[in-house]
C-alpha cells in the first residue's frame, strides 16, 4: 500500500530496523502501512494526493 508519512517512524522490514521521515511517500507492505495509519503517522496515498503533489 502506498502511504505518505506524517511522523517519523521506525518498523521492522526485511529483518532490519527501517526508519522513515515525515513527507516521504512509500510503497510498504499492507501490515506496516496499516499500522502506521493506525499510529496516525501516515495516510493512504491516493491518486488525488498524487495529483496535488504534481501541481
Amino acid at each position: 500500500m502506498k502511504v505518505k508519512i506524517l511522523a517519523g517512524s521506525n518498523f521492522p522490514l526485511d529483518k532490519k530496523d527501517k526508519r522513515v521521515e515525515a513527507g516521504e511517500v512509500l510503497d510498504l507492505p499492507d501490515k506496516i502501512a496499516k499500522a502506521l495509519i493506525k499510529n496516525n503517522a501516515a495516510v493512504k496515498f491516493d491518486s488525488k494526493m498524487a495529483k496535488e503533489e504534481e501541481e
Partner: protein, 239 residues
C-alpha cells in the same frame, strides 16, 4: 492483595538536578476547584450540587542543606522568582513503568533552618504552572553512553486528550550530545515519533506537550553522540 511500597526509593528531579540524595520528605498535592450549582427547589436531591472547575497542584519538599553535590541550594535559589522549570516526582522510584508526576513548577518559598543539635535543614514549596501530568517513567536516571531503543511501557489504552513528556539531564561529562524522542505504537512493532526533545549537550531539562493523541505503548529512543556521558531520565503521560 494490595502491594505497598516503602517511600525510601522516591526520586525528585528539578530542572537539571536530582534532589533525591538531599531530601527526606516530598509531598505532591493535586486539587480541583468546584463551583456550587445548588438552587431553590433542587428537586429530589437534598444535598448541595457542584460542577468541577480548574485543577491545581503544589509540591512541598524538605530535607538537608546541600550546596556541593548536588548543588540543591543553588537550584532552589534559582527557582525563586523564576519563570518555572520542569519538575518530576516518582514516589515509588523512577524505575521504568513506575508512576511519575511532572509539570512546570514555580518555587514559592525556600527556608533554611539551623539547629544547634541537628543537621541544617531546608524546606521548599512549589506551585504547578499549568497542568500536572500523571504518567509513567520511560527511563530511570541513567548514565547514557550509547544509542538505544528503550523497553516498552504499556499505558493500557491510547490517550484521548493529548500527552506530555519530560526530560531531565542531571549529570554531564566530556562533550556528549543526546537526542531523545518519545515514540508511541499500537502494536509494539511499528513506532512513530510523538515528542522530540531539543538535543542535550549538557545538563538541561525540558517539558513538551502534544495535542495529538498518543498510542497505547510508549518508549524512549536515545541517540548518543560525541564523547563522555549524560545522565538522563524521561517521563511520559497521557492527558
Amino acid at each position: 492483595m494490595p502491594t505497598f511500597t516503602h517511600g525510601k526509593n522516591a526520586v525528585v528531579l528539578l530542572d537539571n538536578t536530582n534532589l533525591s540524595t538531599t531530601l527526606t520528605d516530598a509531598a505532591l498535592s493535586l486539587t480541583a476547584d468546584v463551583a456550587e450549582t445548588s438552587t431553590f427547589s433542587g428537586g429530589i436531591s437534598a444535598g448541595k450540587t457542584y460542577v468541577a472547575g480548574l485543577k491545581d497542584g503544589t509540591v512541598t519538599l524538605s530535607g538537608y542543606f546541600e550546596s556541593t553535590d548536588p548543588d540543591a541550594d543553588a537550584e532552589f535559589l534559582s527557582q525563586l522568582g523564576g519563570s518555572g522549570a520542569a519538575f518530576s516526582i516518582a514516589p515509588i522510584g523512577y524505575t521504568r513503568g513506575n508512576a511519575v508526576s511532572f509539570g512546570n513548577t514555580i518555587a514559592t518559598s525556600y527556608d533554611r533552618s539551623a539547629d544547634v543539635g541537628s543537621v541544617v535543614a531546608v524546606a521548599v514549596a512549589f506551585q504547578f504552572d499549568g497542568d500536572a501530568y500523571n504518567g509513567k517513567s520511560l527511563l530511570a536516571p541513567t548514565s547514557v553512553t550509547g544509542s538505544s531503543n528503550e523497553a516498552t511501557v504499556d499505558f493500557g489504552a491510547a490517550g484521548t486528550n493529548g500527552g506530555a513528556g519530560v526530560l531531565h539531564c542531571t549529570v554531564s561529562s566530556g562533550s556528549p550530545t543526546l537526542d531523545v524522542k518519545i515514540q508511541t505504537s499500537t502494536d509494539e512493532a511499528v513506532w512513530s515519533d510523538y515528542i522530540t526533545f531539543t538535543q542535550a549537550t549538557g545538563t538541561t531539562s525540558e517539558l513538551i506537550t502534544s495535542a495529538t493523541n498518543p498510542n497505547q505503548y510508549a518508549r524512549a529512543v536515545l541517540t548518543f553522540g560525541g564523547t563522555g556521558s549524560i545522565t538522563a531520565a524521561v517521563g511520559f503521560a497521557h492527558k
